[in-house]
């Protein structure tokens, strides 16, 4: 219904305005309705400004900045309506180390109320995890899973 959509939109936008600058280390962003007076069909625009840069459409962001903006939005939705679990498949691939650490720090905090499963090749992400599952194909074509420690995980991901 119209009212529930608007309520969710406002609440998520309020969180997005806080999460974006946290993950980008500054800047600002917000969600904008394309048709304020037609809540049942309106689209949602994202306007973002990376720290020190001009306000511009998200299309002009870099590859890593786009991934970071997307993560900011997903996390904002979570903060409004937590999901019991969240599975992220290599979302850290386009990010540099500073942004990986910021995202991971926030995941760590959110893991108090949401279960996270992280698929990654990034050793920095492995280091923040409590349990590591190593998937191997010692027998080519056949997957096996073993629980591993950090050192072994780094070898496997190599």
């Amino acid at each position: 219904s119209r009212v529930r959509f608007k309520e969710a939109f406002d609440a998520i936008n309020e969180r997005f305005e806080k999460v974006f600058p946290r993950l980008f280390g500054g800047g600002k962003a917000k969600l904008v309705l394309t048709e304020e007076d037609n809540l049942l069909e309106s689209g949602v625009e994202i306007v973002a400004q990376a720290p020190g840069k001009k306000l511009q459409p998200v299309e002009l962001l870099s590859g890593g900045e786009k991934a970071l903006a997307a993560v900011s939005l997903v996390f904002s939705v979570f903060l409004y309506h937590p999901s019991p679990f969240c599975i992220l498949d290599e979302v850290d691939a386009p990010l540099d180390d500073v942004n990986v650490d910021r995202v991971n720090e926030m995941i760590r905090e959110m893991s108090m109320f949401t279960q996270f499963l992280l698929i990654t090749h990034n050793k920095r992400t492995m280091e923040i995890c409590d349990a590591l599952f190593g998937v191997t194909m010692d027998e080519p074509g056949v997957s096996k899973v073993v629980q591993v420690d950090l050192r072994r995980a780094a070898e496997l991901a190599a």
Partner: protein
Amino acid sequence: MRIKKLEISGFKSFSDRTVLTFEEGLSAIVGPNGCGKSNIVDAVRWVMGEQSARMLRGRSMEDLIFGGSDTRGAVGMAEVTMTLDLTIGTVPARYVDYSEIQVTRRAFRDGTSEYFIQKVPCRLKDIADIFVGTGAHSRAYSIIEQAKIGFIVTAKPEERRTVIEEAA
């Protein structure tokens, strides 16, 4: 609700029965290219009721059943069981008395699928009902497929509204 255990057998590259037990805290899944990490994500979406083979990176549902390797023949059945711990977080009303429930899905090469809750046959709808309202379902924004994180940003404004609608 949280995922306590996953048992995968005959699904995609998991020819043998494979068990992942998830304790509290953050879990990482690691391994070389092509070893089967994303197949685990597909197993979760599938057991939650995903009906489109394309969403599971296959052309047909038969692509989901282990098709063989150099050393193994193809198998006839894929089965995934997900054990959910119901002692924390939101829980569907029907299952408040349970401390955990097991959801199982099976598929055969003839195209038939079977669904089970606590090892009792049920319908797909019964499985979907478990997740209604929790924010978790096979296509939820809480399962981000590999290389697709940028979608929300590059999608059209009308497409982005569904993320808000889901949470409403």
